[in-house]
Every structure is written in structure tokens, then in C-alpha cells.
Amino acid sequence: MKVILLKYNAGNIQSVSYALERLGVDFEITDDVETIQAADKVIFPGVGEASTTMAYLKNNKLDQVIRDLKQPVLGICLGMQLMCKHSEENDTPCLGIFDEGVRKFKASTEFKVPHMGWNNLTLTDSWPEKPLENNSVYFVHSYYVPVNQFTTAVSDYIVPFSAAMKKDNFYAVQFHPEKSAQAGEQILKSFLEV
């Protein structure tokens, strides 16, 4: 199996690569279009700001490459947000794989933003799998995707929001499986096994 970790200006590529190493997965970090297209699985990481990362993807023609992928693709955190239609973060048009908008959390003294720390998952579909019901996973984000028809796991902070989504071959998680201890490892493994 050929696993690709998509190389672009995202902040957590190193952390995701270490997590894959710990799982004993063979993978390649690349932005080479042909290599990406030939992969069995593609992981689309993401930490950073929506407009600058989208601009980078466009300039490198990776936006259309990602949209056209037919193999299983996993978007992580900002990766998931970029898979949506639009982000409120600097009013950025995104990839549009999920026909949903990304919104900003409203900060207050009661509900601090970023939403930072471990929060539990309520599963609403077959992926992530049942054993992860109520497991806590690690989140760091100020923007969120509302619950929608593609939502497969829900977490609650200020409002219920999409912790995971799935549409055809596209999988996405708002949390950081690479930093979510055993629960995160299980999620990565389950994606690599689909």
C-alpha cells in the first residue's frame, strides 16, 4: 500500500509523519502530482491559516488535484476545513468537496477560543468506528464546520459541530489524530484500513 502525506505549507506535517512512523506505516511526503494520483491513500494535514494555505494549493495546482482524487483521502484539522466550500477565516473560498461553510467560534470568558484540549466524540455513522464512541480526542481550532449531512462524529463546544465528516472517498477530522494518544492512533489505522 502506498500512503502519501501531502506536502504543502501546513504546520503539522512533521507530527503526522511521526504518528505514521509510530504505526509502522510506509509513506512518502510529496507534492508531486503523479505520485499523489498513484497513491492508495492520501493524507491531507493542516495547521495554519485558510487563505494562505488555499493560495499555496492553487498556485501549485494542487487544489484541482485534491478534488479529483478517487482513492481514500483524509483531511486533518485545517485540511478538513479546506475541503469545505468556504471559510469565514479571511473570507476564503475553499475546495468545495463538502458543500458546507466554515464558521468562527464566538469567544467569551465562559467559552475560550481557541477550542483547545480533549473533547469527546459522539458517532453518527460507520466511520469512525464504534469503539471510539465517547473517546476523547485533541482539538485546537478557532473555526468549525456545523453539523451537516456529511457529519459522522459530533463534538460539542459552544455549539455541536462536525468532529468528523465523510463523503464518498473523502474522510475528514477536525481533531488531531496524530496528537490524540491511542484513540488517535486507532482513527489513523482505521482510515489506512478502509
Partner: protein
């Protein structure tokens, strides 16, 4: 529900953990990676590594250590100590650290917070503040508490938030090392003042102190060193205790 975070803090010098660490079942308590792994296994929610190296040579050791930590640890971690520029931060984040904490350098040059936040995002910038109460005012200190400044805790914390810090790590020097409990009053005020998370530090001595800092001061996270390093408080027991006191924790 978002859970309250328990954060052990490790002091590092020349690539080794310092202060006596007496950790059960650990062959080499001086090895930060082994100690960090043990904490992650026990259910620590995050870790903080503070570089207290004195020389440039020792600092280089720290940077390569960060990479080793990132390779082995499957929970988030923050690194701090001696960070004073964008150039200092980039290699640490590239090595796999999730966040960096800044302290004295931000007091000297507050613009540093804006620069780091813009370059790397607010979520990875922790503003650490050491303060002690003098004549009814919480006065910010730098250089490990050695130097007093003209800054006051609450205005400085607010300014840090406005400049783009993603979290405040407040250590009460009056409570640090006493094991008499966290500084509930100033922590409560910080909670009511800020819209970014607050990490409480200084004074942890019992499990009840953790319950208090979460229930009374509404802290988002609590950091401690010696009570964990010497096994006085075991993290699994602490989390069960907190859960029994209706405080949301990750078990």
C-alpha cells in the same frame, strides 16, 4: 464536553531532566523521552518542557531533543525557555513541538507576541507570566522570577491576548513550591478577564488543590512538576478524583 487538562512540566538542562525525579518504574529518570512517555501512558493531557540551559551548546541539545520527543510522544507538548525571536521558534515547531511558551523576552519586547502569532498562529503561542503580590498588586517578574518589572499581571495578560497569544500560563511565585494550593483569586480574575484559555501553575500539593483550581478558579488546565515527578500524586488517581468531583476529565 471539553475536559480540563493536567499538564506535567519537565525542566531540561543539556538534554536531561533536572531536579530530582523519582518516578516509579523508570530506569532512567533523567531521560526526558522516557519520562514523557510514562506521563503520556498515565493519561497526562499535554506536557511542557522548559529549557533551563545556560549555554548555546546546551540549547542546541534541546532542539534535537524536541525532535526525539515528537517522535515518541502521542500527545501535544509545549516547549519554552530562551525563545526571543521568530527564528528561535521555527526550528522548534518544525521539529514537532505543538506550542512554544515565551516569558521574559515578551516583557522586554511585547511586539514579539504579535510577530510569533502572525507567523505561526495564535494557537501555538503560550504567554507565560510569573507574578507575585506586592502591596496588593500582582507584579510581573522575569528571568525565572529574579527581576521585577513595571507590568501588572492583569493588564499584561489582557495585552498578551490582544497581541495574539493563544493561551496564558500564569505562575504565582507566592504559591510556587509551597504545596498549599493554587492562587485561586488571581486565577479567577484572569478567567473573568480573558477569552483565551488559562493554565494555572504554582502551588499544587494535593488532589483537592486541582479540584479547587478547576471548580473555583475555572482554570482550563493545571500544570505541576514535583508532585508528579516524585509520585506524590498519580495522574490516573487524580483524574478519577476529579471525575468524582464532577470535573470533566479525559480518562
Amino acid at each position: 464536553m471539553l475536559t480540563k487538562r493536567i499538564i506535567p512540566c519537565l525542566d531540561i538542562k543539556d538534554g536531561r531532566t533536572v531536579k530530582g525525579v523519582n518516578f516509579v518504574d523508570l530506569r532512567d529518570a533523567g531521560d526526558p523521552v522516557a519520562l514523557a512517555s510514562a506521563y503520556a501512558e498515565q493519561g497526562a493531557d499535554e506536557l511542557v518542557f522548559l529549557d533551563i540551559s545556560a549555554t548555546q551548546e546546551q540549547r542546541k541539545t534541546f532542539a534535537s531533543l524536541v525532535k526525539e520527543i515528537a517522535r515518541h510522544i502521542n500527545i501535544p507538548f509545549t516547549v519554552g525557555g530562551g525563545i526571543s525571536s521568530v527564528e528561535d521558534v521555527a526550528p522548534l515547531l518544525e521539529a514537532g513541538a505543538d506550542k512554544v511558551s515565551i516569558n521574559s523576552s515578551a516583557v522586554r519586547n511585547p511586539q514579539l507576541i504579535n510577530e510569533l502569532s502572525k507567523a505561526f498562529g495564535a494557537q501555538c503561542i503560550v504567554l507565560a507570566i510569573d507574578a507575585r503580590k506586592i502591596d496588593n498588586a500582582w507584579i510581573v517578574h522575569t528571568h525565572g522570577g529574579k527581576n521585577s518589572t513595571d507590568k501588572k499581571l492583569f493588564t499584561w495578560a489582557k495585552e498578551g491576548q490582544d497581541r495574539g497569544a493563544g493561551e496564558i500560563l500564569f505562575t504565582s511565585m507566592d504559591h510556587d513550591g509551597t504545596k498549599n494550593g493554587f492562587a485561586i483569586d488571581p486565577l479567577s480574575k484572569l478567567h473573568a478577564l480573558l477569552t483565551i484559555p488559562v493554565i494555572a501553575s504554582g502551588g499544587a500539593g494535593s488532589m483537592g488543590h486541582f479540584a479547587d483550581v478547576f471548580a473555583l478558579a475555572k482554570a482550563d488546565a493545571a500544570l505541576a512538576a514535583s508532585v508528579f515527578h516524585f509520585g506524590e500524586i498519580q495522574i490516573p488517581e487524580l483524574k478519577t478524583f476529579l471525575k468524582n468531583h464532577n470535573i470533566p476529565v479525559r480518562l
